[in-house]
Chain length 345, copies 2
């Protein structure tokens, strides 16, 4: 069905030492896979899709480094990533050619054609199909589960969100506002802080690159911090730590500032965990424990989006070949909102 | 009513630098207080009790140091501590002279006569009245709430308890066994380890003072650790940390090994919190959040005690004047089980 067509793939050429660069990646050309050519058992339940959109997300930085809670990408392997694609060929009873599908985040998605058991169909009537990679996808559910289920903010409490201009952070902060909390973002640079305050409606946003970061954060949180939605770790965490109130909750969603460390750095003192009765909880949205929340998440978040109570900016990288550049820029903090690659129309 | 009698008190002479010693304490003699001599408003709701038993507990080490989640004991102030006493005089409608009462842990209890609003009556028909300071008191409820509500062990999981020969640890481990978990204690020295294994029925107990502690702990936990009931912190925590399984829970109940530090030491890496989706939760049993569990705790634990499914050794220090020596010994790890001072018959 796809004979003669070329499948462009982006593979891992070398593991990053320090920050990832475009030289860690390589574009290769292979024949387009065909389910028909696979043996029956392997192909059963699988779908071949033409990639339309590819999601770029911070977790990819962990997967290409090989020190991870999940399977690392092997050298020479296609980088993993969620895609929205159009079904070309199907051996799965739920999917037919022409359907729009979301492929899972653990499947090699940095390519023109993906073989997978899709996560689900994407309903184009809910909005642009690329939102399945953003507000109605993994970043949205990460914010929803981490903030609401683990953070459990109450009206009047103070919620601080790091990486506040990013996809997960910007959604988590807006959801906290909907719960009646005072929401303070942390972001890099005045432009991102302005965006977080003015476009996302956070009560305040503090620039972690500014010389007076610690003082500014304390001023923005006069009643201390009840929930800290942790996306970055490192120095930002050290600055947040003394401001945590008794019984504060810290959903640990990501550690952007620590992924490039070659060995783990020590964490904050256990004495505060005890004295302040803190709860720290690491989570990964794809864990089975969070599966049951998918229905609630889609119902609530699509309603918030329709009513304009939550928004998510989308930045688009044009062309699969520019995905490495996009990811490097994402990790360097050059984007706000959700970053996606337009692979094909 | 108590005119002419002497009230012996043990007061804080100086704050410990490093480990507490008996020289940090001083015995003073004062007149016995009388509720009648207090002004009406202050005395209302209060009870004067003759101290029979005084509880010695690790939290006292925190209160006398002045770096604490609760009010520190002032220099010259009577040391705080729970007592079981007999009511001498009452301005509280629920208590009458002759009643046996439990006085709260935040009230100065290192004295022959205590003025307090009692926490509750002690029912002598449930067992020796001193158990209100042990298995049916604060240590018992600490184990119950920390292990069951925060640790949430499941049958077949591995639970590790530090300070396993202590009051809280020995109860927490026995409760975990009742839940069907494999229970591994950590204690100091071969005699305590034998006690934990043979008398408390833990599946294994590892000596943290032994040269091969890390290897022995790993051998005792072939399937890793699902719940770590944290009483000590420090090096023991560092040794436990790499053995924690994905989704492990760490109720942080105490940090015995860290209280003497003059500044907080760094904690374990946040990277593991994220990668392993750990939950760390500090708790203090007297927090209002745990109040509602008192009924369940008393019902379950008294039944376990009656049926011999849970036991708690009681060590007795004879005489109020020896309380400082008892506390210093407790903090140095010289006791197993619950340590109490017999103040009067």
């Amino acid at each position: 069905m796809s004979d003669g067509l070329v499948n462009r793939q982006i593979v891992l050429k070398s593991r990053p030492i320090g920050a990832a660069t475009v030289d860690n990646f390589e574009l290769v050309r292979t024949p387009v896979p065909s389910l028909a050519s696979g043996d029956g058992e392997n192909a059963a339940g699988q779908v071949l899709s033409r990639t339309l959109w590819l999601s770029l997300d911070p977790y990819m930085n962990v997967r290409i480094r090989g020190k991870t809670y999940a399977e690392p990408v092997p050298i020479g392997g296609v980088i993993v990533g969620r895609t929205v694609g159009r079904v070309i060929e199907s051996r799965h009873p739920d999917y037919a050619p022409g359907d729009i599908v979301l492929t899972p985040g653990g499947v090699p998605g940095w390519q023109d054609y993906v073989v997978s058991t899709p996560e689900r169909k994407v309903d184009p009537s809910l909005g642009p199909i690329s939102t399945a990679l953003g507000a109605l996808g993994m970043p949205g559910k990460t914010a929803y589960v981490g903030l609401l289920d683990i953070g459990q903010p109450k009206a009047g409490e103070t919620v601080v969100v790091s990486s506040a201009a990013g996809a997960v952070g910007s959604l988590a902060g807006q959801m906290a506002r909907l719960r009646g909390a005072r929401v303070v973002g942390i972001a890099g640079g005045p432009e991102k802080c302005r965006y977080v305050r003015e476009e996302l409606g956070f009560d305040a946003c503090v620039d972690y690159r500014a010389a007076d970061f610690a003082e500014a954060l304390a001023r923005a949180c006069p009643k201390g911090i009840d929930v800290y939605f942790e996306n970055v770790g490192g120095d930002v965490l050290q600055t947040v730590w003394p401001l945590l109130n008794d019984f504060a909750r810290v959903p640990v969603c990501g550690l952007l500032a620590e992924y490039d460390d070659m060995s783990p750095r020590p964490g904050p003192s256990m004495r505060s965990v005890l004295n302040k009765r803190l709860t720290l909880q690491g989570f990964i949205v794809s864990d089975p424990a969070h599966l049951e929340r998918t229905g609630d998440f889609l119902r609530d978040t699509s309603s918030w989006l329709r009513q304009g109570q939550v928004t998510l900016r989308q930045d688009v990288v044009e062309g699969l070949e520019r995905a490495p550049e996009g990811l490097v820029g994402l990790l360097a903090g050059r984007y706000s909102g959700k970053l996606v690659v337009r692979v094909a129309e």
